[in-house]
């Protein structure tokens, strides 16, 4: 008997027991539907999380001056003074994947306003710093390129500083003293809160980096350079371009260590991707349990069916069916049940995914991969759980089977 005939015989047999077939199929439908829905929603969540993280600044690259070796002694990070503002300009101009840069000069000082004082960190930055950090102002305006060029004594205060120094007054337009020099406050930053390590990001004062260099610290180099890649994907390329450029500019010979370090937040993204990937996998595995239960349902029904149809098996054997024909017939019944269930489950799963994403606004990529896996898994379940009952059927002795009542 050929396969097509066997499929028709199997379908006929399933139709003879409509309710039973329907309930068996339902088990697989729920299993496949659960797998598809959870995997799709899981990868949707992954995408949302990745988006949220890239908002944190995954395009960000921070270039620290590195260590120099003097007479065999490695001096540690930050000891190089060859990092200059021109390096930052060169990075912006020559690295194709870099969109923005800002040299940074770090310092700390006591600041005084009238009878209040506060010790805080002073950060010398360029005008792009605000955009790189995506840090809007609550009041006032950011300092200008002109301020940077002229090393004007202007500053922008973080929220914490504003609270401590000005209490309830509007800081914009006031003059504070940093290291006894008068600085005019031109803006107040919006609160950004703490970093992951509990550092208060709002406890800071921004000044033009030239002002910090010349008036506050008295240096000509910069502490570090912050660069912003054109895209998350471009971060790695930007990093490489910066590395090559700086090695060239700092005349580092082939084989020698860099005198700088480029760090990025891509690691963070990959950590979160891993986490959401694990979550998706976890959800998928939990859902597969229901698929497994569905499979056991198929096996259960097929075993009942084989026993119930012992006589039919005997009749078929007596008119010339081989045990292979019987095996194939029952196996196909099981596979058909699970494939029908799989197809309906996929349709349901996709509808639920689209429904959920419609109401929650989560992205829901309909993953062809998940569909394929679910489909293969469903037929696998059919074969796996159908094989034992089918073998049982095919190994029946025709005489006993015919005599069975």
């Amino acid at each position: 008997m050929n396969i097509l005939m066997t499929v028709r015989v199997a379908l006929k047999a399933l139709r003879k027991n409509k309710l039973r077939s329907l309930l068996t199929v339902l088990g697989v439908v729920i299993g496949v539907c659960a797998v598809i829905t959870l995997v799709n929603l899981g990868s949707g969540a992954q995408i949302s999380i990745e988006k949220a993280i890239s908002g944190l600044g995954t395009n960000l690259l921070v270039i620290f001056p590195g260590s120099v070796t003097q007479g065999g002694i490695r001096t540690g990070y930050g000891t190089v003074t060859t990092f200059i503002a021109e390096d930052a300009d060169a990075i912006l101009n020559e690295c194709a994947d870099v969109q923005m840069v800002s040299p940074l000069v770090t310092s700390a000082a006591q600041v005084v306003f009238q009878n209040q004082n506060w010790s805080t960190s002073i950060l010398g930055a360029d005008t792009d710093y605000q955009r790189i950090k995506n840090w809007p102002l609550a009041l006032g305006e950011f300092f200008t390129a002109q301020d940077v060029k002229a090393a004007t004594k202007v500053c922008i205060v973080g929220e914490t500083v504003a609270d401590k120094l000005f209490v309830k007054q509007n800081p914009v337009g006031q003059v504070i003293r940093i290291k006894r020099m008068p600085f005019r406050v031109v803006g107040v930053l919006t609160p950004k809160g703490q970093t992951a390590f509990g550092q208060d990001q709002d406890d800071t004062i921004l000044v033009p980096f030239t002002t910090a260099q010349k008036r506050l610290v008295g240096i000509t180099h910069v502490s570090m350079i912050m660069a912003y890649a054109v895209s998350v994907e471009g971060t790695a390329a930007a990093q490489e371009q910066i590395q090559n450029l700086l090695r060239h500019r700092h005349k580092i010979k082939k084989g020698d260590d860099d005198d700088f370090t480029v760090r990025n937040l891509a690691d963070l993204t990959s950590v979160f991707s891993t986490i959401t990937g694990i979550l998706t996998l976890l959800l998928g595995s939990i859902a597969s349990i229901s698929l497994l239960v569905g499979g056991i349902g198929i096996m259960n029904i097929m075993l009942v069916s084989v026993t119930e149809r012992t006589k039919e098996i005997g009749i078929r054997l007596s008119v010339g069916a081989t045990s292979q024909d019987i095996l194939l017939q029952f196996l196909l019944e099981a596979v058909l049940l699970s494939l029908i269930g799989g197809t309906i489950g996929i349709i349901f799963g996709m509808s639920i995914t689209s429904g959920v994403s419609y109401f929650t606004g989560w992205p829901s990529p309909i993953s062809l991969y998940a569909i394929l896996i679910a489909f293969l898994f469903a037929s696998g379940v059919g074969i796996f759980f159908g094989l034992y009952p089918a073998r049982k059927a095919s190994r029946m002795n025709p005489i006993d089977a015919l005599r069975y009542e």
């Binding site: 069916a321 081989t322 024909d325």
Partner: protein, 227 residues
């Protein structure tokens, strides 16, 4: 020319449990010519059903040899035996053994499903077979919509549909009243007379056995008379 059926010292021993054996056939030798009509009689447990099972290729003898049209059945594989059941043998049972919830036509088509025949030929042959037993107008009926006699006629049509040279009927009238039983026997007799199909019939009833040309009596696993 070898006989149509040739049984040579057939033994069948059933191993019921590890220490209980049932010696159902104790050396049965028998020959049948093509076109013969043989009634096998004997009390229950005499070995007649066992003999029929061997003849029907549903089982293989423990010892001895059995030939059907010169082919030694006892040495064939399961798959080859299935092929012989399909092509050379038609079965008729006491309790009809039709598939429930399956139309008469589908029941008759069943043996053809297991041979390489296309769909239109299959339908034509099944319909022809039903016509021969006078049930063409009821071929869409399910078994539970047919009387006992009609069900047995469907079973005969099924046995005939692959035009086998041998039909084995195991108490075909056992579940029927004597009048319908007589009809069934006349159909079988007709098949034997006109189509030269060899028929082997197992029965208790001497009335039924009278339709056959030859009566073989079994007792305790051996043939006690052959006339």
């Amino acid at each position: 020319m070898a006989a149509f059926v040739c049984a040579d010292q057939l033994h069948k021993i059933y191993q019921v449990t590890s220490d209980i054996q049932v010696h159902a056939l104790k050396g049965v030798s028998l020959e049948m010519a093509a076109g013969d009509f043989v009634a096998i009689m004997g009390p229950s447990g005499s070995g007649k059903s066992t003999f029929m099972n061997l003849l029907g290729c549903l089982d293989v003898p423990t010892r001895g040899r059995l030939f059907l049209q010169g082919v030694e059945i006892s040495s064939l594989s399961q798959k080859q035996l299935a092929g012989i059941r399909n092509q050379k043998i038609g079965f008729i049972f006491q309790n009809f053994n039709l598939l429930p919830r399956t139309s008469a036509l589908d029941n008759v088509e069943l043996p053809i499903l297991y041979s390489k025949v296309n769909a239109s030929t299959r339908y034509r042959r099944a319909a022809d077979a039903l016509e021969r037993v006078g049930l063409k107008d009821k071929m869409r009926n399910f078994p539970n919509q047919l009387s006992g006699g009609e069900q047995q006629r469907v079973a005969i049509a099924r046995a005939l549909v692959n035009t086998p040279p041998l039909i084995l009927a195991d108490e075909p009238t056992g579940n029927l009243d004597s009048q319908t039983g007589g009809e069934i026997m006349r159909i079988l007799k007709n098949l034997n007379d006109h189509y030269k199909i060899t028929i082997v019939l197992v029965t208790h009833e001497t009335d039924i056995a009278r339709y056959a040309r030859r009566q073989v009596h079994f007792r305790d696993g051996v043939i006690v008379s052959d006339q």
